[in-house]
């Protein structure tokens, strides 16, 4: 075991340079007046915290949470039956269906966002072929449809991997003891798949909450997510605020990181072996 340890050194170095140090730097920027472009003396301050309380930040945060929650719930409602269905299939059919779910994930997310944008335009390819015009750009429902399409596989896979490993003997035992299908499902299968559900929910909720390209394109810029606020803090407001917007943006990012860390703790508690994390 010891011998293998040194093979992890590149990984540790990589994570230190590109994850640990930037994170520490983010924390420093959030709680100080350090200027990113002029590294020098600085003093610690809680001033950047005020950005969290602004109406515009809160509204964006609320949008992010609401849309992410709705997305996660819909993904669960669609994803659970799909995962369950996958377990009932023959190996070969199942492999094909899983491939169909995975392959789209290999294409760049911006391309898929762009595709949804084209589908929702008043005169899309569907208008040309079928005479249907969705004309949904700018509507909340369009954001939700696109997000569900984007993140659904991340709900299906963790649930599927739990269900697949479920001990068939437990189900047989339930039936022997007189439980019907519905009782078996709600009292045996569902509770035993809780780990997958938690992972799936977090893996759809978090990326949906931190999305910024998708709401910008699909809502035609009408719905602001917290990611859009962070983007403008780091990209467009820097000169106007003499760099302070970067410290404010760091504070908001840090706030979002709290969600991620909490989510991670939740996953670890529900899924000690990490079997649902793929």
């Amino acid at each position: 075991m010891k011998r293998l340890q040194r093979y992890s050194l590149p990984y540790i170095a990589w994570m230190t340079v590109f994850a640990l140090i930037p994170s520490l730097f983010l924390i420093l920027l959030a709680f100080s007046d350090l200027s990113l472009f002029d590294l020098g003396s600085f003093s610690l301050t809680l001033q950047n915290f005020s950005i969290i309380g602004l109406d515009t930040t809160l509204k964006a945060m609320q949008n992010s949470l609401e849309f992410a929650l709705i997305t996660a719930v819909i993904c669960f409602l669609i994803g659970y039956p799909v995962a369950l269905y996958l377990t009932t299939l023959k190996e070969k059919t199942r492999k094909i269906l899983i491939a169909l779910l995975i392959v789209p994930l290999w294409s760049n997310m911006l391309l898929r966002i762009n595709a949804w944008e084209k589908i929702f335009t008043p005169s899309s390819i569907f208008t040309d072929i079928f005479g249907i015009s969705f004309n949904l750009l700018g509507e909340d429902i369009a954001i939700i449809i696109a997000m569900v399409a984007m993140y659904l596989p991340f709900m299906i896979f963790p649930i599927f991997s739990v269900l697949e490993k479920l001990d068939i003997k437990l189900i047989e035992a339930a039936k022997d003891l007189g439980a019907n299908d519905i009782q078996t499902f709600f009292r045996v299968i569902f509770p035993l798949s809780a780990g997958g559900i938690v992972s799936g929910t977090i893996m759809t909720f978090l990326p949906a909450m931190t999305a910024f390209a998708l709401p910008q394109r699909i809502s035609l810029g009408k719905t602001t997510f917290i990611g859009n606020i962070i983007e403008s803090k780091f990209r467009t407001e820097v000169m106007d605020f003499n760099g302070v917007s970067i410290n404010q943006g760091s504070m908001i990012s840090l706030f979002l990181m709290l969600f991620s860390v909490t989510a991670f703790i939740l996953i670890v508690r529900f899924d000690k072996e990490g079997e649902t994390l793929i």
Binding site: F37, L39, T56, P122, S123, L137, L220, T236
Partner: protein
């Protein structure tokens, strides 16, 4: 901490320098597709150098680049030049190193908009244009509406039409100020409040580069766009099937993009040679023809209109009997007010 940073910096720099050749290198940060690559190659061949061009999509992104890296040439809009001079990030142009500059005359109307400004010693004008309304001309009534109402068409019809507004505090507030009949640089709190109310009252879609695409695919009926955005679509489009048009209201803002030399440029002399190369009349004409935006010099402008047959009406950013204004950076406080106005306008639904 500092040691750690310099350690990382040394590693990164050494990785970067391994791939370098021995030729001198000129680093340019520029808007995407905003300089004829064939002419850049011609410069490389003539001077035996390599030119490295990095594309960015906004003045703000470009400002970040010159703060974090070292570039020899950048192409900024006027208000950002103003701010960068303030921040000590640019160096004055050494006009003694330029031989072709004296052969060219900046178009007097354009010159009148900035000749008294502090940016003059720092800039070599590159291209100019306006902001205006790009619209879907499949709807015949829209053309009439926009041409009679001007800026009001953008602000007063968001219930009947899908209207796009530029997602940039400076441009959105400028459009609202123009609509209310005020100067784009107004820092009068009352006037800004009116502009804010106008932006909040209207139900806009917000975007930057996306807006022109949304008008073309008819997701939007009209949008505030830069003349440059319109032109690049106009030149790309198939002439028979153009479904969009551009209208510039009588009073509007003029943008001026200029070549500048950042304070920390490594190849200052070469940078001047590069600028001088692009001021050579034949090169400047070819470059303007490539990028398709109005050139800033009379000689080049006339050559394009007379010899190349460019459409006078569309091409002139400052025709007779119109009023033109130009952004100044103003104070940080004003810029922050503009940011707050944009956020409030976008937040409202």
């Amino acid at each position: 901490m500092k040691k750690l940073f310099s350690f990382i910096a040394i590693i990164l720099i050494s990785i970067l320098s391994i791939s370098c050749s021995t030729k001198p290198k000129l680093y340019i940060v520029n808007w995407g597709d905003y300089m004829d690559p064939a002419l850049i190659s011609a410069f490389e061949a003539e001077y035996g150098v390599d030119v490295e061009e990095e594309p960015v999509d906004s003045n703000e992104a470009m400002a970040t680049r010159i703060q974090t890296g070292s570039y020899d040439i950048a192409v900024f809009s006027e208000y950002m030049v103003d701010k960068l001079i303030d921040q000590n990030l640019l160096q004055p142009i050494n006009f003694a190193l330029l031989t072709n500059n004296s052969e060219l005359t900046v178009i007097p109307k354009l010159s009148s908009l900035y000749s008294s400004s502090s940016i003059v010693p720092y800039v070599i004008p590159y291209a100019w244009g306006t902001i205006g309304i790009m619209y879907d001309n499949d709807k015949p009534e829209l053309k009439a509406l926009i041409e009679t109402e001007g800026w009001a068409a953008l602000f007063e019809h968001t219930d009947e039409y899908n209207v796009g507004m530029y997602d940039s505090s400076r441009d959105a507030v400028a459009a609202a100020l123009l609509y209310k009949g005020y100067n784009v640089n107004s820092d009068n709190l009352g006037e800004l409040a009116e502009a804010e109310a106008a932006l909040i009252a209207a139900d806009f879609s917000w975007g930057t580069d996306e807006l022109r695409g949304w008008v073309i695919e008819e997701t939007l009926d009209m949008a505030l766009v830069y003349s440059g955005d319109y032109f690049s679509e106009y030149y790309l489009a198939d002439e028979d099937s153009i479904t969009f048009d551009f209208y510039v209201p009588t009073t509007t803002n003029v943008w001026l993009d200029s070549m500048v030399i950042p304070q920390n440029a490594q190849n200052v002399v070469l940078a001047h040679q590069f600028i001088d190369f692009f001021l050579r009349e034949d090169i400047a004409i070819a470059n303007s023809d490539y990028i398709g935006y109005a050139p800033c010099y009379e000689e080049i402008y006339n050559a394009l209109v007379i010899d190349y047959g460019y459409d006078m009406v569309n091409f002139d950013p400052y025709p007779d009997d119109t009023i033109r204004q130009m952004y100044v950076y103003g104070t940080d406080e004003r810029s922050q007010r503009l940011t707050a106005i944009l956020l409030a306008a976008k937040n409202n639904d």
